[in-house]
Amino acid sequence: MDKYKEIEALLERFFDGQTSNEDEQQLYAFFSRKDIPEELEKYKAVFDYFESGLSEDLGEVEIITEFDDDTNDRSHRPVKIKRILAVITGIAATLLVLVSIHLFNSDTDDFDPYEGSYIIQNGVRVTNMEEIRPQLEDVEKAVLEQQLEAEQILEKARQLSETGSSKEQEIERQHYSFLNDIQDETVRKNIEDNLKTEHNN
């Protein structure tokens, strides 16, 4: 029973990460036995896993084991491994959060509708948006005003053209109405020919 109390004490220290290599060796040796008391049977699986499963599952553990071999400090230090894994997981999670925040911000706040704009002054190309933004806005405004002015001129020209053609149509209509009132066919033909000649000129 005393022996088991010693194992229980070792177990307590093991899970607190305070065991030495010798202590752990003692635990591995104990749990590799077949006659383990019932109350300690539940820990067997843990030591079986650290003894074999962990080294098969994780490459990192292999590396640590090999390193320890070189330094004649061969041991399985599950608590240390767990801590390393926890630190690595923590770093990875932090990086993931930071990258996500960066991507989210670049998708929303960093958008600039003028992206890619530039000016060339005296042979020097300037792309610094803070510096050139006022000039970009001025140029955009001026060019769009020019465009608007041109469109207004074109619209006026179109209206004038429409008005002109409708006046011509009205004159033509009046001519033919006048011709219909002339009874003499020869006279009507002569006037019609004259009007056509005049219209073509």
Partner: protein
């Protein structure tokens, strides 16, 4: 087989129409490219992107030419050469000389301005799908 011919014809028509649009203002585009490489020319290029799609919607290029009458005449000549292909054109008479003011080639338009001192500016609004 018939379907293949139809698709091929449509593709050729599409390529043809794109080429036609490109070549419609080839002379003025050539002069603009020349201006881009000249150090004596000041230029502003404004790219406008759609805030929703972030795609390029329109490119506005404004070029100022100072003390370079040869280049100014080249621009006028290029615009006049391309004028028959323009869908809309406005010319202006200045000191007895007809000068181009605004030429539109569908989704690309050019506005030209000649000042009393001989300096000039030309601006391009390009709304072609970029």
């Amino acid at each position: 087989m018939k379907m293949k011919s139809i698709v091929l014809s449509m593709l050729l028509l599409l390529i043809g129409s794109i080429c036609a649009e490109v070549s419609a203002q080839e002379n003025i585009e050539a002069v603009i490219r020349k201006c881009e490489s000249m150090e004596s020319v000041n230029m502003t290029v404004v790219r406008n992107r759609d805030p929703n799609t972030k795609k390029l919607q329109q490119t506005i290029t404004s070029i100022s030419i100072k003390n370079n009458p040869v280049l100014v005449n080249e621009i006028i000549a290029a615009l006049k050469k391309d004028e028959p292909n323009a869908t809309q054109a406005i010319d202006k008479k200045r000191n007895g000389k007809v000068v181009p003011q605004y030429y539109s080639f569908g989704s690309v338009s050019y506005s030209f301005s000649l000042k009393e001192d001989g300096n000039a500016s030309i601006s391009v609004i390009d709304s072609r799908s970029q």
